[in-house]
Amino acid sequence: MREHLHNELIRLKRLLAGVAAAVEEAVSRAVAAAAGRDALLAQSVIDNDETIDRDEVFVEEECLKILALHQPVAGDLRYIICCIKVNAELERIGDLAVNIARCALELSERDDALPESIDFASMEELTRRQLKLSLDALMSNDAPAAAETLRRDAEIDAFEKNTRRLAFAVMRREPSRSAACVDAIAIAGHLERIGDCATNICEDVIYLEEGRIVRHDGALQEKFD
């Protein structure tokens, strides 16, 4: 009876998966550019953001069109709302990848070392994993997986906090390395924000599957802690 709508929803999911893949790629490349001080790679992330922005607008227009033409309800309605929100999160993650790429560009122009005590590799890996798990939960409509991923955001937050602490210590000890320390704090901040966006995607997946808005739900956090 509403086969047309259901085909549209399947198409929408494919479009969103495309944006998600592009954003994951942007984060990976930005992080690699920062680690390798690779200006070329960093520039490619910045240049490609325009495509992500364009796709984001396209997905939003598709969602609005489906809302206006099909007036979906229940699970279908929640799916469209989830797509609109996740789409916006993905665009934001793309922008954060650009911010990291800009840091990489600056780093590529200098040869001062980032504070050795900071374990960037682990933080990057954790952030990328959180992003991947949140998108997997979205694509497989898996609310328990989303809730589990949500819980692990605290680990990224702790990393970011620790990075600040370590960077401040280095700055106090060796003021000549302040520039590198500021970059380290900025990159850690962007990664932490990407983690937050992944968290938001997880919350959207829980809404999609269970119809509950858990965004400010301390009880949920406690339940999984």
């Binding site: 009876m1 509403r2 709508l5 007036q71 979906p72 309800v73 229940a74 699970g75 279908d76 309605l77 929640r78 269970e210 119809g211």
Partner: protein
């Protein structure tokens, strides 16, 4: 709005001629001054359910209802109930507009003459009030003497609502009141239903799910003679708890 229960349906079972059961253990609480929508696929029993509230099914041979329907606490299925008075208290609007073959004025005046002792001028005043109440006065004030059957479909339906309202009912039952009417006239009737909610308790059977979503406060989903889910309309349409409800309202069956 009040949370007072106007109609309480308890263990209602309904049988057509030949002992064919159409409703199974229906339980429902209809709240006063709210709009309750009854939805479900064709043949699910939603009209049958509605038709028990004013015992209009008794006009057909061999049909019977078992259980209780309490209106303000009184079981209207009891044989002691005055059926004429019951049908004044619980008015009904049908799918196809049913103006009587008489003038616009006489259509609306009919229940006034049937149920109340009023002077000519009082009747004229109440007819005008009723026609204004359904936003029909401006359209028909110049042709009160023409036949009600000469009006457009949407006007005829509003005329029938005006006629139902002049009987001073407490409850209005509407059985797909807009399914034979164009979209603009439908929106007028929907606006009217929302106004009428202030004074009456409204129960509406509709095939149009968007209509149920737009105008009702509570929705009951019927399937195969049973009430599968009943709750606040916004909950039913954003997050129904029964998978059958979800399948139906998202168009995955029916």
């Amino acid at each position: 709005m009040s949370d007072e229960i106007k109609i309480s349906v308890r263990n209602l079972n309904f049988f057509y001629a030949g002992n064919h059961q159409a409703l199974f253990d229906n339980n429902l609480e209809i709240r006063a001054n709210h709009v309750t929508a009854v939805i479900g696929p064709s043949g699910c029993g939603k009209s049958t359910h509605l038709r028990t509230y004013n015992r209009i099914f008794e006009l057909y041979r061999g049909q019977r209802a078992e259980g209780e329907i309490l209106v303000d606490g009184e079981n209207i299925l009891s044989p002691h109930v005055d059926v004429l008075e019951l049908r004044r208290r619980i008015g009904m609007i049908f799918q196809k507009p049913t103006p009587f073959p008489m003038s616009v004025f006489d259509n609306v005046a009919y229940p006034l003459r049937l149920h109340f002792k009023l002077s000519k001028s009082e009747i004229a005043d109440r007819v005008e009030d009723a026609l204004r109440g359904v936003s029909l006065w401006d359209e028909v004030s110049g042709k009160l003497k023409t036949s009600g059957l000469a009006l457009s479909g949407g006007q005829q339906q509003r005329l029938c609502i005006a006629r139902a309202v002049t009987a001073a009912p407490e409850v209005l039952l509407m059985d797909e009141p807009t399914s034979a009417i164009d979209p603009v006239a439908t929106l007028k009737i929907e606006d009217l239903i929302l106004q009428l909610r202030e004074k009456f308790t409204i129960v509406i059977v509709t095939h149009n799910m968007q209509q149920a979503a737009r105008i009702s406060d509570y929705t009951a989903f019927f399937y195969q003679g049973r009430i599968v889910e009943y709750g606040r309309t916004e909950a039913i349409f954003t997050n129904p708890s029964n998978p059958k409800t979800e399948e139906y309202i998202t168009g995955r069956f029916g």
